[in-house]
């Protein structure tokens, strides 16, 4: 979940809950206040009415007048009371026929016993609740509208504002995602008016710049170190040669010299491969030219045939012509490493198949299943065999070349056949 979503989710949840609670609460409280108001107003009317009646008590035919009044008045009714029932200020909400609107409407009414000229009457004062209900409805509607606007507005504001606000952040993030230590230049930062983002950008660019410098130093160091090792190795080998020329070496001495020489050679190969890896890293193979892939394969198979023959391995090739624009040295190393790999790990007396068509080179060999996947195999110094001649760098170099040239390296294993494929 994105940070913005979490942020707005909380905000929204809070406001929705608040609004949902506030709507009924305010509706009920307004209703209650209104009802109280209505009751008060009814009581007030009744009081006023009674005061007026009292002031007319001197009239003789008041009784008749009251009857007439009862008939004429819409909201106030006064009629003689039954003696057996006595009510005092009884409030009720009832539905009555409204003669003005010609419909049954809710009314609030209060009935009360009063004495006019010593005679008991029931005074009923009514008030229509329709207007009040309309008011409540209107208030409710306004509130719902406001809350919808609030939530929608919040959503919209948050989205548009945060998109703009967080833009520098996402830009930095994208740059970081695209950043490759071995390829990219340092990250170019864009200043924003938000302090936090400026801080972040500064830190990020500082960090990447420092990493890059360390990486460059490291690369340079590997290359320099590999170069520096060559001369002592040359001295070492030349001394062994001198030693070899001395007559009357015992067998043990001869064996030791040979072991030393083989070891020196192993170091030399390792060093050479490391140097090659670091040179590919340092982009020293940028020069491209038309390269005839099938020709390279054919000539390499020719020169490798004697080595393969030592293990009674046969190499068959089905090659379509393919010319690509690439660095010739890299293509040669790529093919030679794959072929070496197939010969080294292929089972004896089996066939190594090399096919080239549709810009796809596949090299297959029969062999025992390996526990490694392609990632592990192409890691530096990862090897399953203890063959001292294997440097553990061959496939790492293949991978590096594929990466740097944009080729796709695939590996599959089925029916005890290992297949390495390169899509040019």
């Amino acid at each position: 979940m994105r940070l913005l979503q979490v942020n707005i989710r909380g905000l929204l949840l809070y406001s929705v809950v608040l609004v949902l609670i506030s709507i009924p609460v305010s509706l009920f409280s307004i209703q209650a206040i209104l009802a109280e108001e209505v009751d008060e107003s009814i009581a007030h009317q009744a009081d006023q009415f009674l005061t007026h009646i009292k002031s007319f008590e001197y009239l003789d035919d008041l009784e008749t007048d009251l009857k007439v009044l009862d008939k004429l008045s819409n909201n106030i009714h006064i009629r003689p009371a039954d003696n057996n029932k006595f009510v005092n200020k009884d409030y009720q909400t009832t539905s009555l026929y409204d003669s003005i609107e010609h419909a049954v409407r809710p009314f609030r009414q209060m009935s009360s016993h009063v004495l006019v000229k010593g005679k008991p009457y029931i005074l009923t004062v009514q008030m229509s609740l329709v207007d009040n209900n309309d008011l409540v409805m209107a208030i409710g509607l306004v509130q719902i509208t406001v809350s919808v606007l609030l939530v929608g507005g919040l959503l919209f504001l948050n989205r548009s504002l945060s998109k703009r606000l967080w833009k520098p952040f996402y830009k930095t993030l994208d740059q970081l995602k695209a950043y490759e230590l071995d390829k990219s230049e340092s990250i170019a930062i864009e200043s924003s008016n938000i302090n936090e983002f400026n801080d972040l950008n500064k830190t990020v660019s500082h960090l990447t710049e420092r990493n890059r410098r360390v990486f460059l130093n490291q690369k340079e160091f590997i290359e320099n170190a590999s170069h520096e090792i060559q001369t002592p190795l040359a001295i070492f080998q030349s001394k062994l040669d001198t030693l070899m020329q001395s007559p009357n070496l015992s067998q043990m001495e001869a064996d030791t010299i040979m072991d030393l020489e083989s070891t020196a050679q192993r170091i030399a190969r390792l060093n050479k491969n490391l140097l090659l890896l670091s040179k590919i890293d340092n982009e020293q193979f940028l020069q491209t030219e038309p390269v005839n892939v099938d020709e390279i394969i054919r000539s390499q198979i020719d020169s490798l045939a004697p080595m393969a023959a030592l293990e009674s391995t046969k190499i068959t090739a089905e090659l379509a012509t393919l010319t690509i624009y690439a660095n010739k040295t890299l293509v040669e190393v790529l093919i030679s490493n794959l072929l070496h790999n197939a010969i080294r790990y292929g089972a004896k007396k089996e066939t190594i198949g090399v096919t080239l068509n549709d810009k796809r080179l596949s090299i297959s060999n029969i062999g025992v299943a390996r526990n490694m996947n392609i990632e592990q195999m192409t890691q530096r110094f990862s090897k399953e065999s203890s063959d001292p001649n294997s440097s553990g760098l061959g496939l790492a170099i293949v991978k590096k070349i594929c990466d740097s040239c944009g080729y796709k390296l695939e590996y599959s294993f089925s029916n005890s056949t290992h297949i390495f494929s390169v899509n040019f």
């Binding site: 060559q230 080998q237 040669d241 067998q251 020169s303 070496h340």
Partner: protein
């Protein structure tokens, strides 16, 4: 036959001197670019071994000066920086060969003798050793006038051994010479043994003396 070694690494120079003098070459050494510049103006050499990384200058500049002086000296570049650029530049500047450190001494000796042969005999390029005559251009071998049918491997093996005659040549050096980087795939003993056996057989069948001696545990020696 005079050789100039331009190399600042004293220990390496010592071994090269020992090996080349044993082969009967007259050797001089320049440990710095300044020394080398002096020597190449004053003397003629059949072959110059030139290290590119010198403390006081780049060997390629020395190479330029050698060629500017119209010297016909054959030059072998020796470098710790096995970079293609240097190689291409060196060869373009007129170097005759290029050898990356670390190298096997027999390889150096074979390259030196090839260069000297080319310079001395102006391309006639025949090596005669007692009854064995090797035509390097025609890639053919005669023993007492009878042509041998050698494979490519056997031919280069013979040339390599003759260039290193009377020296012990290790199996590693032979394997590297015959198959370059592919040598790492080899079970060196098996590989060389079969080629060597065939070569010896073909030579002796043609009536040559058996010059190739097996030095147990180490390799072979073409001894007279």
């Amino acid at each position: 036959m005079k050789i100039l070694i331009i190399e600042d690494e004293k220990q390496l120079v010592k071994s090269i001197l020992l090996a080349l003098r044993n082969e009967g070459y007259v050797c001089e050494v320049a440990y710095s670019a300044a020394e080398a510049d002096e020597k190449i103006v004053l003397f003629e050499y059949d072959c110059i071994l030139l290290d590119i990384n010198l403390p006081d200058g780049n060997g390629l500049n020395i190479l330029e000066r050698i060629k500017d002086n119209k010297k016909t000296d054959g030059v072998i570049i020796i470098t710790a920086k096995n970079s293609l650029d240097d190689k291409v530049r060196g060869l373009n500047l007129g170097a005759d060969d290029y050898l990356a450190k670390p190298f096997f001494m027999p390889e150096l000796i074979a390259r030196v003798s090839a260069i000297i042969r080319r310079k001395r005999f102006d391309g006639s390029n025949k090596v005669v050793f007692h009854e064995i005559a090797v035509d390097l251009l025609g890639k053919s071998v005669n023993v007492k006038g009878k042509e041998l049918d050698l494979t490519r491997m056997e031919f280069s093996l013979l040339v390599f051994l003759i260039a290193n005659k009377n020296r012990v040549v290790s199996k590693n050096a032979i394997a590297e010479h015959l198959s370059g980087d592919d040598a790492e795939l080899l079970d060196k003993f098996d590989f060389i043994y079969s080629h060597m056996k065939n070569l010896k057989r073909k030579l002796t069948e043609a009536g040559s003396e058996d010059y190739i001696k097996t030095i147990y545990g180490l390799g072979y020696k073409f001894s007279t």
